[in-house]
Every structure is written in structure tokens, then in C-alpha cells.
């Protein structure tokens, strides 16, 4: 019984050492990946900031005035249509349902 216990402990210790060794390698890899992600995250944030600025409504309006002759127009909600697929057919209906309140 004692021998079995000791062998079990020994195997456990051996396994722990092996697992520990392999996790250490994975940890190192994770650490390196994290370290590589950090500047990328920062870069992504900066790029997104630039994108948000360049695609902001203010900038888009400015570009529109600068490069296009036609003015932007308001969308009339009553002309927006809804497409519903039913039995391989597409049904077209008004997006806004007319109510008695109109």
C-alpha cells in the first residue's frame, strides 16, 4: 500500500514537473504574443481614431461640398420599402404602416 502511495506521489510530481515545463513554454509564448499585441492595439486605436475623424459627419459633409455638385437630400421615410421573403417570393410593403393617426 505504502509503495503504491509513494509511486503515485512520484508520478504526480513527475507529471507536475512535465506539465509545469510545458506551461512555462506556453506562458512564454503567450507573453511574447501579448507583448506583440500591445503596440498593435495602440496602432489600431490610432487608426480607428483617424477613421472616426475622417468619416465623421462633419468631415463627410465637408468632402461632399468640396467634391460633389449635388446636395445631400433627406430620405422621405414614406418611400422606404420593406422586403420580405416568403415561399421564394419577395413581398414589398411600406416600411411605415399608415395609421389612423396620420
Amino acid at each position: 500500500m505504502k509503495k503504491v502511495t509513494f509511486v503515485a506521489i512520484f508520478i504526480l510530481i513527475l507529471t507536475t514537473s512535465l506539465v509545469k515545463n510545458s506551461t512555462k513554454e506556453i506562458e512564454d509564448k503567450i507573453f511574447i504574443v501579448n507583448e506583440n499585441i500591445r503596440p498593435l492595439k495602440s496602432e489600431l486605436g490610432d487608426v480607428l481614431l483617424e477613421y472616426n475623424y475622417l468619416s465623421s459627419p462633419d468631415k463627410l459633409t465637408q468632402y461632399q461640398n468640396q467634391y460633389f455638385e449635388k446636395d445631400l437630400i433627406k430620405i422621405d421615410i414614406t418611400i422606404i420599402k420593406k422586403l420580405i421573403e416568403k415561399n421564394n417570393n419577395i413581398l414589398i410593403s411600406d416600411f411605415i404602416e399608415t395609421t389612423n393617426n396620420e
Binding site: 486605436g45 481614431l49 459627419p57 421615410i77 414614406t78
Partner: protein, 560 residues
């Protein structure tokens, strides 16, 4: 001859030595194994401790911010994830002339890196022996080059820069920070500690595109009606999420200027105004809530004028009939009829109702720039004036809250600028009886659709807008002035199933001779503003805004 005899006596030698087992029972084989195992155990424990230690170090590495701790401040994004504020780490390069060994060599090296700089000026600065900045917010390439010079006199300083890509758009909501990375106004102030702690960006409920469109309309009509300022709030009536909140004039946060002029006050939350007839909705709702009136209840022989103390209360519309139902009183914005409903309610009931919908006391909000309604002593005359919205003040934000509660079925809401992860699951606490909303919403719609109503200019097809106008003369020493007015339009839409409340307030608008009003739902137009009342100013602005933002709200927020 002696006879020597060698006598050898052989004795049996009894050898007492014999190998015996140790009396201590020492098992050498067993102890060797045990000892080895013990060593293994000790080693494994040491490894385990190291493993835990490394594990904890890993967490520290992961959470380490890109910017040093005292400079760190979380970014702020809108409901769609667009940056409203971003913290960017920048490096400033300074030179300490005392530590310069070879000035000529340094200048030549600097010229290679920054060829466009004024080196006469830099040379003069070096002679003064005072620390100066060579380049602020240096690029990564130039930073590497200048550091490679290895000159001890060149100092690098890490600085925090808050970038506001939307410039003026959210100036009153976001607010400013000082040079010590401390928020001094808006969300930067009220969420100062949180912004320094949280790792993820702070997400707001506002929508950049809608905020832009509303601000554009306010700017346009600011010049049309030459108003002192204006404000607009768009809020979801079911969960209190503020989709847009604009106060104009505003300021560019990137300029980091000290804003002290009262013209830049946040009119949406800080401005405390007498809002006039928009309060009549509250009086009628209070009457319906108490069960004292119904929409068809008739009031007979309504006077054209009432005297209360020194004040005379009269009708704005001289053609208003003497007999009116509750519905007609609200549609035609009758002052005397509202006074009669108020008198029927009494001070306690009206006060309790106004308190329930949150217009009487200071509101608890996400930013600290919140106005406090002016307290007053209730009395018979005060009851009469409060019934039609005079002698009582509140902020546009509280007005929005009040209208939201009345329109959403009578449930309490808390206006908020911060997006909650739980979505719309706010505790639904009923504060107004069931059925009141339906009756009020129906009347509010009629104010927009009927000829007698005061908000016909907001009858935009497809949106079912309902609302109430309010024109209030501004209080001056000793009374009111007709010249300066506050025009408000409190609207809800779509009235059949209300989702949004929108408040448009114009501070001291004037009439415009040039502006052309296009008739709604029929051809033709009308040139010039006849009166600087809400029906001709804030209603027109609200209509134009809803026309622009409506398709976005209807399609983008369809699932909400």
C-alpha cells in the same frame, strides 16, 4: 636435561560475535527512497510557488497600461463604438542648455533631424541657459533619431493628450480636463475616478450621426431666428437613454480654452427656465391621474381674464370659446381652463404629481452641470400660475423626463448618458395610473394635426408626432418682458406607440422676415415669421430635425 613439554591446550573458543539485525529497526533502503521523494516534493513545492509567482506576474503584465498610471485616462465612445475622446500618448522633447557639451555639434545634428526649424532662435535659447521645448508631440521616427544622438542635454517627457475627433459636437456632455489630468466639467469631471480606473472605453448612449444632424439644424435656425442660444434633447422614453443632447453655442474641446462666458452654459441641463404652456400637459395628466377629470369633461363660462392678487391672467388666444372640454383646453392651450383644472386638483395633488414626474427638484444626472428649479411658496395664486406653466421653473432635461413618464405608460425612468450593459432592463416602477398615457398621447397628437392646435408645423408625414408648445416671457425685475421669450416644443413620436421624446428650446428667438415656411402635407409656402412664439419657431425646428433623423431612428433602432 629438562624435559620440556609443550603443552598446548586447545580450548574451545566460544566466539561471541554474531551478526544481528539493528535494534533501531533502521531500513536504509526505505529511507533512501523516502529521502529522494522528499527532495522531489520540496523541489515540486518550490516549482509550484514559482509557478504561482509567474502567474501573478503575468496578470500584472497584461493589465499594464500603455500610458503611465498617473497619465492614464480611459477613452469615451458613442453607442456605435465611434471615438468621442481618445487618449493619445505623446512625447515632448526638451533641451537643458546647461548640460550641452558641444553646442555646434548639437545644432548640426538637430538640423539633420529637423531641417525646417529656426536654428537662430534655438541658438539664442541655448545661450540663455534655460530649459526649453524643442519639439512637442514628436513623431516616432524623429524620436528614435534624436535619442540615438545620445546627448545628455536632450530630455524626453511623456505627455497625455486627449483628442476629440468630433470637436464641438459633444462639448457640453464630455467636458474638459485640466493640465493635471483632472476632469473639470461634464463627464470628465463626474466620471474622473472611473475614467482613471477602467480599462475599457466608457460607452455613452449618444449617437454621433443624430447629434450632428440635430446640431446642424440648431445652428441653421440660430441664424434664422437670431436666438441667444438653443438646446435639444432626444431621449428613449422607455429606458431614459439620451440619444442626443445639444446645447448651442458650444466650444471646441481640442482648443482647451477656459470657458467662462454664460453664453456657453449647458442649456439642456443647467439652464433653469419658466417653460410656459408645456406644463399644461402636466396639469391635465395630474387631473386624469387623480380621476378628477376625463378628456371629455366640460368647463363652462371660462372667463377671458382672471385677477389673482396683483397679477392678471388672460388668454393668449382672444378667440378661445368660453365652454371647453379638457381635450380642447390642452389643444387650444387655454390658460383659464388650465387654471380651473389646477384649482380642481388643489395644491397638494398638483405638487405631488409634479414631484412624481421629477420636475420640481434637482435631478440626479450623470454630469454635475445640472440646474436646480427655483423653489417657491405655494399659494392660491401660485397654484393658478403653475397650472399653465408660469411662476415655476425647471430644466429642459427634467421636462423631457416628465413627458417621457407621461407618454411611456406612466413608468419612472432615469435619464442617462451611460450605456448600460443590461440594455433596457430598467426596473419598471409605475408612478402614473394606467390609461393616462393613452389619453394624453391622443391629445398631444391632435395638437399637431388639428387646425386649432398650436404645433401644425411639426406634422411630418410618417412620424406621428405629438407635442405641446410653450411660449414663456422671460422674468425681469418687477415682472415679465414681452421682448425676451423662451420657446419650447415638447414632442413625442410615434404617438401610436411612443418611443422618443424630443425637446427643442430656443432662448430669445426673434421673428424672421425672410424665412419661408412650407405647408405640411399640402403644397404652398408662407414667407416670414408672424410671431416669435413656439408654434412658429421651436415647432418648425423640431419638425425639420425629426424629418432628418427619423429615417435613421426608424431603421437603425428598429430592434430596440
Amino acid at each position: 636435561m629438562s624435559d620440556k613439554k609443550n603443552n598446548v591446550i586447545l580450548e574451545e573458543y566460544d566466539n561471541e560475535f554474531s551478526y544481528k539485525k539493528s535494534k533501531t529497526n533502521l531500513n536504509i533502503e526505505f529511507n533512501r527512497i523516502a529521502f529522494i521523494l522528499f527532495i522531489f516534493l520540496v523541489i515540486s513545492i518550490i516549482y509550484s510557488i514559482q509557478l504561482f509567482h509567474l502567474g501573478s506576474l503575468k496578470i500584472q503584465n497584461e493589465t499594464k497600461p500603455l500610458i503611465s498610471k498617473e497619465n492614464y485616462r480611459a477613452d469615451i465612445i458613442d453607442r456605435n463604438g465611434n471615438y468621442l475622446v481618445k487618449t493619445v500618448s505623446s512625447i515632448d522633447i526638451g533641451i537643458n542648455p546647461i548640460e550641452v557639451i558641444d553646442k555646434k555639434k548639437l545644432l548640426i545634428n538637430l538640423k539633420l533631424i529637423f531641417p525646417k526649424k529656426d536654428y537662430m532662435d534655438i541658438s539664442n535659447k541655448l545661450k540663455k541657459n534655460k530649459y526649453f521645448y524643442l519639439e512637442k508631440k514628436i513623431s516616432a521616427d524623429n524620436y528614435e533619431k534624436i535619442m540615438l544622438l545620445g546627448d545628455k542635454s536632450i530630455k524626453s517627457e511623456e505627455k497625455l493628450t486627449r483628442i476629440y475627433p468630433q470637436k464641438n459636437l459633444f462639448s457640453h456632455i464630455i467636458g474638459q480636463i485640466d493640465d493635471d489630468n483632472k476632469g473639470i466639467s461634464g463627464l470628465e469631471k463626474s466620471f474622473n475616478d472611473k475614467l482613471k480606473q477602467i480599462k475599457k472605453p466608457l460607452q455613452l448612449t449618444v449617437d454621433t450621426d443624430i447629434q450632428f444632424l440635430i446640431r446642424e439644424e440648431l445652428i441653421k435656425f440660430h441664424s434664422v431666428f437670431r436666438s441667444k442660444g438653443s438646446a435639444a434633447i432626444l431621449m428613449n422614453i422607455n429606458n431614459g437613454e439620451i440619444i442626443s443632447m445639444v446645447s448651442y453655442p458650444d466650444f471646441d474641446l481640442n482648443k482647451r480654452e477656459t470657458v467662462s462666458d454664460v453664453i456657453f452654459i449647458n442649456r439642456a441641463t443647467k439652464g433653469v427656465y419658466e417653460l410656459g404652456s408645456v406644463f399644461k400637459t402636466f396639469t391635465v395628466a395630474a387631473g386624469l391621474d387623480e380621476g378628477l377629470i376625463e378628456t371629455e369633461t366640460e368647463f363652462f363660462n371660462l372667463e377671458k381674464k382672471l385677477k389673482c392678487g396683483k397679477n392678471i391672467i388672460s388668454e393668449y388666444d382672444k378667440k378661445i370659446p368660453p365652454n371647453l372640454t379638457v381635450e380642447q383646453i390642452l389643444i387650444r392651450s387655454g390658460n383659464i381652463g388650465s387654471v380651473r383644472i389646477g384649482q380642481k386638483l388643489g395644491i397638494d395633488k398638483l405638487k405631488l404629481f409634479l414631484d412624481k414626474i421629477g420636475v420640481l427638484n434637482k435631478i440626479d444626472f450623470d454630469i454635475e452641470e445640472v440646474g436646480e428649479p427655483i423653489s417657491f411658496k405655494w399659494g392660491k395664486c401660485k397654484l393658478a400660475t403653475v397650472s399653465f406653466g408660469h411662476g415655476i421653473t425647471t430644466t429642459p432635461l427634467q421636462l423631457a423626463k416628465g413627458y417621457a413618464i407621461i407618454a411611456n405608460g406612466g413608468f419612472e425612468i432615469k435619464p442617462s448618458l451611460i450605456k448600460k450593459s443590461t440594455g433596457n432592463n430598467q426596473d419598471r416602477k409605475r408612478v402614473i395610473k394606467e390609461g393616462v398615457s393613452k389619453k394624453i398621447n391622443k391629445i398631444l397628437r391632435k395638437i399637431v394635426t388639428t387646425k386649432e392646435g398650436t404645433a401644425g408645423l411639426a406634422n411630418i408625414k410618417g412620424y406621428e408626432i405629438g407635442g405641446k408648445t410653450g411660449t414663456a416671457e422671460k422674468a425681469v425685475v418687477g415682472g415679465y418682458t414681452r421682448k425676451a421669450k423662451v420657446n419650447t416644443f415638447a414632442s413625442i413620436f410615434p404617438t401610436s406607440k411612443p418611443k422618443y421624446v424630443m425637446i427643442v428650446l430656443l432662448d430669445e428667438p426673434k421673428t424672421s422676415e425672410e424665412y419661408i415656411y412650407k405647408y405640411k402635407n399640402k403644397s404652398g409656402s408662407y414667407k416670414g415669421t408672424p410671431f416669435n412664439t413656439a408654434g412658429w419657431t421651436s415647432v418648425e425646428v423640431a419638425g425639420k430635425i425629426i424629418q432628418k433623423i427619423g429615417p435613421i431612428l426608424a431603421t437603425k433602432y428598429i430592434e430596440n
